[in-house]
Subunit: 354 residues, 2 copies
DNA sequence: TACGCGATTGAGACCGGTCTCAACAAGTCC
DNA sequence: GGACTTGTTGAGACCGGTCTCAATCGCGTA
């Protein structure tokens, strides 16, 4: 009761200065650990601060220094293990460099993303790490650039904009995956993604996310090189969370014998659906996916995946951002990290034609 | 090049005021949408702002209003699906109420937690949502209270402190799980947790986290009621991430026929280890766990779990916090949410004695 | 003894908003 | 017509730090 009057004003530098019998400027120097202060005065000020329970106000400091020591991160959905890991990677690097991270979920929607960016811009974060909802409509990203704040993209690039970006080598990854399927004898291979797209995929379409775009292009190229007639026949986009099942049913009914899932959440839904259909993996349908989600090694059968260095993607993005914030003015750079194939047991030759 | 000089000063209310030929106060009223401004003037100001590319400075606003519209959240590890989900739940509610969330990982370590709290306090977040690393050493939490900031705990309570808390009903949950194992005929049941503890568990020990404490107590009580002689014999704490395997080997070698895993990450490691041991689940060892992680329904066999309403835990914590920030002065409250049993196929009678 | 120099300290402006308060205009009421 | 409202606007203090600049002090040196 005595000292804890709760509606009280916070203790400020001025209060400490008065208690230590020095000027506000000197107290601030001692507390903020800048400028020159004699040992004796510093001790006196620090003691007074301790005594009064002084707690620095980072807002006020940011006001004058222009730095908030905060970075804004906008991801699709923190619940998605991909983003959770990338966030952790980024957050560790950021913390080590003295930054906190404010997190925002865009749900892969442009409006949410733009709103989040506006708020973060208002909060004067020192920089941004964004997995852009769209590689095409980049108004939000432009706003960041216009405000002169450093920005690093991850997982997807933004077309026509010079922005630092950290990507995984999806083009190579998908080819390796398809190759495996081809070698096993598959000819009717499906590709399923939840990416929003205004209509069914047509050859040459440009997709909203460069990472999916790279995968689809590599997928098509591989099939084409293998001499497969309609390489896009089993590509299904726009499968919302609960639409993956329908997409799987669809391609399987149409005769697909193998599925490439564009991420682990899709793979999970596909896995379930194939099972519900009473079909065997890999006896009836082979399944491969991106991301080494933990379930993929525990399932029966464990599934062959193209693992991405997710942690490192986030960490590298943060490293680049920190460098930019520190003033690195080098031209924008794109870092492409390799993916790694983990072969398990979800591929088998297609069933003999009935 | 023309308008985008990049080292430039930000556009301020004063600039807008000058451009709109009104006073700073009036411009601020129009831009901040408070006080009274005539329609005509408002339009003029907004137009000027648009023209100049005015972007509000939330820091400056927070300075005077004393509100940052930000809440600080400290979790063990955002990569842990439990925390990822809780964070999402909290973050959605927070956003709807106009708050951003700054995220910090404590790695379940007191020092990290306290450091994070200090930083967030300095940033003048409007409130805190914390999964405290320790229910016993609560210095960090006290600091928050001393600073007069609202605080809500989740997943674990803090002893001896009156703080709003959102918990799952672990006591009931663990009993239900043990009951299932008992009914199947198990007598040598293990409980494995990664919680830090200075020495092997002894009956009556108080654990660092109330949620684990509740589980262990319920576990012991259930076994005791069932007339089992040494109920604590197979309790293994302190199993660090990579120590779960060793703990499992240990209890299995000692004759345990069933394992209760205190969370889904532990369950995952246990599942792997039992397999590596060449043993069958559930033929040789039965396994149950807390949290309905996605892999638990995909594994072979799928595992019986006690699901927690994780999303809701986070959401409810945020709701309580928002209420407190709004000024609700009611006494601290503890909300206990029910867990839900999901029976799958990881329980069988213990193997016949060799 | 006077001068120069570095180290310390204090005064006060400043960051970009919000907020209080007074001034003023246009009605409104008696 | 005068007093009183109500609505709108401007001046300037204020939030809690940082930063610039000038003043002061101690001390080595010419």
């Amino acid at each position: 009761m005595s000292e804890a009057g709760n509606g009280r004003r916070e203790v400020t530098v001025t209060d400490v200065a008065r208690a230590a019998k020095v000027s506000k400027a000197t107290a601030a120097r001692a507390l903020g650990d800048y400028g020159a202060v004699s040992e004796a005065v510093r001790d006196r000020v620090l003691a007074a601060a301790e005594e009064l329970g002084y707690r620095p106000n980072a807002l006020a400091r940011s006001m004058t220094t222009g730095r908030s020591n905060t970075i804004g991160m906008v991801v699709g959905d923190i619940e998605n293990p991909f983003f959770a890991q990338a966030t952790r990677g980024a957050s560790d690097v950021a913390k080590a460099a003295g930054f906190d991270v404010v997190l925002s979920n865009s749900d892969e929607e442009l409006e949410s993303e733009n709103a989040a960016i506006a708020v973060l811009l208002a909060k004067r974060v020192d920089g941004f790490i964004v997995a852009p909802a769209s590689s095409v409509d980049t108004t939000g990203l432009r706003a960041i650039q216009a405000a002169g704040r450093p920005l690093v993209l991850f997982d997807r690039a933004a077309e026509d904009l010079a922005i630092d970006t950290v990507l995984a080598d999806n083009a190579t990854g998908v080819r390796r995956l398809v190759e495996l399927l081809l070698q096993a004898g598959h000819r009717r291979i499906a590709f399923i993604s939840t990416i929003a797209h205004p209509h069914p995929y047509r050859l040459g379409d440009r997709l909203g996310s460069t990472s999916v775009d790279d995968r689809v292009n590599g997928f098509v190229a591989s099939l084409t090189e293998a001499g497969i007639a309609e390489p896009a026949r089993f590509i299904r986009l726009n499968a919302r969370r609960d639409g993956v099942g329908a997409a799987v049913r669809d391609v399987v009914a149409d005769g697909a014998t193998a599925i490439v899932a564009s991420d682990s959440l899709i793979a999970q839904a596909a896995f379930r659906t194939v099972r519900e259909l009473g079909l065997g993996i890999p006896s009836d349908v082979s399944l491969v996916a991106f991301d080494d989600a933990d379930w993929t090694s525990l399932s029966a059968p464990p599934v062959t995946v193209m693992a991405q260095p997710i942690h490192e993607i986030g960490a590298e993005a943060a490293r680049m951002l920190v460098r930019r914030i520190a003033g690195d003015g080098a031209p924008a750079e794109t870092v492409v990290l390799p993916q790694r194939l983990i072969e398990r047991e979800s591929i088998a030759p297609p069933p003999a034609e009935g």
